[in-house]
């Protein structure tokens, strides 16, 4: 959902070609996950269909698509609304972690061993993010921090769940 809105936001800054939009998206938001060209053009197509951008006539020049995209008033309103809306504070009750623990207990398997393995995986990822924080540019450090806080929340949940496995097992099997 964020890709169309991020592209719209980049277009609000200035009209752009698909190629340049993809490049800007990758610089600001890609972070190792570059946006495929096909997704850029399919998204722009949908935004044009919905009246949020306008595609200008192709310009002469090299390359397959020299079409410039311009954001419409409707598109600007959409960006403005999205930026002012808080993201839904989801309780994440149905996470994979939760499902695995409950299922392990239901089946009489070793839920504690799973939680230990998950803790080790989380800590390993936190070490990678810490390295980025120590050596990376500020934008990468901010993203790493965001990831760290989420992993930390999971780890706190893992600790609490580890401490409550016995009563949880009794409840699940009752």
């Amino acid at each position: 959902m964020t890709v169309p809105l991020a592209l719209l936001g980049l277009l609000e800054r200035e009209p752009s070609h698909g190629y340049d939009l993809k490049r800007d998206y990758d610089v600001y938001f890609g972070r190792g996950k570059p946006l495929p060209f096909s997704q850029v053009y399919s998204t722009l197509g949908r935004l044009a269909r919905d009246g949020k951008v306008e595609a200008r006539e192709p310009e002469p020049g090299a390359g397959p698509d020299r079409r410039r995209y311009v954001i419409t008033d409707l598109g600007v309103t959409e960006v403005e609304t999205w930026l002012n809306e808080p993201v839904e504070a989801e309780p994440h009750l149905q996470t994979v972690l939760f499902t695995k623990v409950v299922l392990a207990l239901l089946l009489g398997r070793d839920a504690e061993a799973y939680l230990d393995a998950q803790r080790a995986a989380h800590l390993a990822r936190m070490r990678e993010l810490t390295e980025i924080k120590r050596t990376g540019p500020l934008m990468d450090r901010l993203l790493a921090d965001h990831g760290m806080f989420h992993l930390e929340a999971d780890l706190r949940w893992i600790e609490l769940t580890s401490a409550r496995l016995e009563p949880l097992a009794a409840e699940v099997r009752s």
């Binding site: 230990d116 803790r119 080790a120 989380h122 800590l123 390993a124 936190m126 070490r127 990678e128 993010l129 810490t130 390295e131 924080k133 120590r134 760290m148 992993l151 930390e152 780890l155 600790e159 401490a163």
Partner: protein
Amino acid sequence: MSVLVEARDAVLSFGPTPALRGASLTVTPGEIVAVMGPSGSGKSTLLHCLAGILVPDGGEIWFEGRRVDTLPEAQRSELRRRRFGFVFQFGQLVPELTAVENVALPLLLGGTRRAAALAEARAWFERLGLEGVEGRRSGELSGGQAQRVALARALVTRPGVLFADEPTGSLDSLTGEHVMDLLVSSARDEGTTVILVTHEPRIAAYADRDVIVRDGKTALLSVQRTTT
């Protein structure tokens, strides 16, 4: 792979309360190891045993191939002063001394002449971004500055092992991470082994690997840091 510090099945009770129930840990030279666990799990007790501050009721503690737990207190004290550095959460600086005198203290106790000790101590102020606070007393330092002074004091003797017990526990997140950054960088520069006790995953993430202490036992050794 050589072993620098080791606990083998360490057992220790405080009166009727068991703190360690057979904790084992092996640390190799230059490693940074985080010891994690919930409150009361025994992680600080394990650190104090490894550092020769506490003597376990059972099991063995080794340092550089030498049994530590059977040494008399005077020899363990000598070992701590000469080979180990310590950073704790609170109240480490001598309030009557200036910051630079605090850092020079271990050198002075080891017999270094005052002028030389102070000169060596001053060099650490620049390394840890503490220029200008050399003459302040602990009450005139911020929490982050005081922890950095404590870190300088722990490292000034170039110890073989730095034992750090919740070294950022009294600091806000940003200051704590700054202190950890300096601790890790300095330890790596000096080749110092670090054994770090923390309950905070984001502090443990500065280590090469983690050990979980649960109910007085070491429960999990996680994978080594993958360098990129």
